[in-house]
C-alpha cells in the first residue's frame, strides 16, 4: 500500500506528521515530507489509516 498526498488539498495542519512520524516529517512550512518513499510498511498500516482518517483536509489516501 502507498500513501498518497493530494497537494492541492493539503494545508499542512500537521496531524499526519504526528500520527505517522515513522514515514513523515515536516518541511520549513509545516507541510509533510515523506522520509523514505510512499510505500507503507505493514507494521504502520494502522497508523497510516488513522492519519488518513484524521486529516482535517481529507488530503491523504491509501492507494494500492
Amino acid at each position: 500500500m502507498r500513501l498518497h498526498i493530494d497537494w492541492t488539498a493539503c494545508d499542512g495542519r500537521g496531524v499526519c506528521t504526528e500520527l505517522l512520524t515513522e514515514m513523515l516529517t515536516e518541511d520549513d512550512w509545516g507541510f509533510p515530507v515523506l522520509r523514505n518513499g510512499d510505500t507503507v510498511p505493514p507494521p504502520l498500516d494502522g497508523a497510516a489509516r488513522r492519519a488518513v482518517d484524521r486529516c482535517p483536509m481529507l488530503a491523504l489516501r491509501l492507494v494500492t
Binding site: R13, V15, E18, W29, G30, R54, P56
Partner: protein
C-alpha cells in the same frame, strides 16, 4: 419520578452547553496547527470529535427526559421543528434549532470522507451559529434562568469561546506565520471564451 426527569433535563442541558463550549474551543485549537492546551495536534482533534459525540448523547438525554416530563409537555414535533412549541416557543425553539444544527454538524463530520471536504467545511461553519443558539436557549428557557450559578456557567463559557476566537484572529495563531497563502493565481482563473 417526574422530579427526577425534570432535574435530569436541566442537568443534561447544562452539561451539553459545557461540552459544546469545549468542542468549539478545541475546534478552533485544532485549526491552529500548534499543539493546543498542552495536547498534541491529533489529540486535540480526537478530543474535539469525542466531546461533540458526548454532547449529542447528553442532548438526546435532555430531549428524551423533556418528552416524558408531564410538566414540559414537549411534543415529538418540537424536537425537530423549531419555534412551534407551546411553552416559551422562542426560547425552546432556539434549543430545537441548536439540536438540529448539531445533528447536521456531527452527521456531516462522520460522513465527511464520503461527502468531500468542501461540503463538510461549509456545513462546519454552522458551528459558529450552533453554540450561541445553545447558550441563548439555556439563558432564556427553563427553571434556572436568572440563578447565579447558571449565569456564572454561561459567562465562563462565553469567556472560553471569546478567548479562543481572540487567539484565532491573533497573528501568532498559525504555527507558521510566514507561510504563504494557497490561492489560485488570478491569471489562471476562468476567463476563457469559446471561440466557436
Amino acid at each position: 419520578m417526574t422530579d427526577a426527569l425534570w432535574y435530569f433535563a436541566r442537568g443534561s442541558g447544562v452539561v451539553s452547553l459545557l461540552l459544546l463550549t469545549v468542542v468549539v474551543a478545541l475546534g478552533i485549537g485544532s485549526r491552529s496547527g500548534r499543539p493546543a492546551f498542552g495536547l498534541p495536534r491529533f489529540a486535540v482533534s480526537l478530543l474535539h470529535r469525542n466531546a461533540a459525540l458526548l454532547a449529542i448523547v447528553f442532548l438526546v438525554g435532555h430531549v428524551l427526559s423533556l418528552l416524558f416530563d408531564p410538566y414540559a409537555q414537549l411534543r415529538l414535533l418540537d424536537t425537530v421543528l423549531p419555534f412551534a412549541g407551546h411553552y416559551r416557543p422562542v426560547w425552546q425553539g432556539l434549543g430545537t434549532l441548536g439540536f438540529d444544527l448539531l445533528v447536521a454538524l456531527v452527521g456531516t463530520s462522520l460522513l465527511r470522507h464520503r461527502l468531500g471536504a468542501r461540503v463538510w467545511r461549509t456545513v462546519h461553519w454552522l458551528a459558529y451559529l450552533c453554540w450561541p443558539v445553545a447558550l441563548l436557549h439555556g439563558l432564556g428557557t427553563g427553571t434556572d434562568n436568572g440563578t447565579w450559578w447558571l449565569w456564572a456557567i454561561s459567562i465562563a463559557c462565553v469567556v472560553v469561546v471569546v478567548a479562543a476566537l481572540a487567539w484565532r484572529i491573533s497573528p501568532n495563531f498559525s504555527r507558521f506565520p510566514a507561510r504563504a497563502d494557497r490561492a489560485v493565481a488570478p491569471r489562471l482563473r476562468p476567463h476563457l471564451e469559446e471561440v466557436k
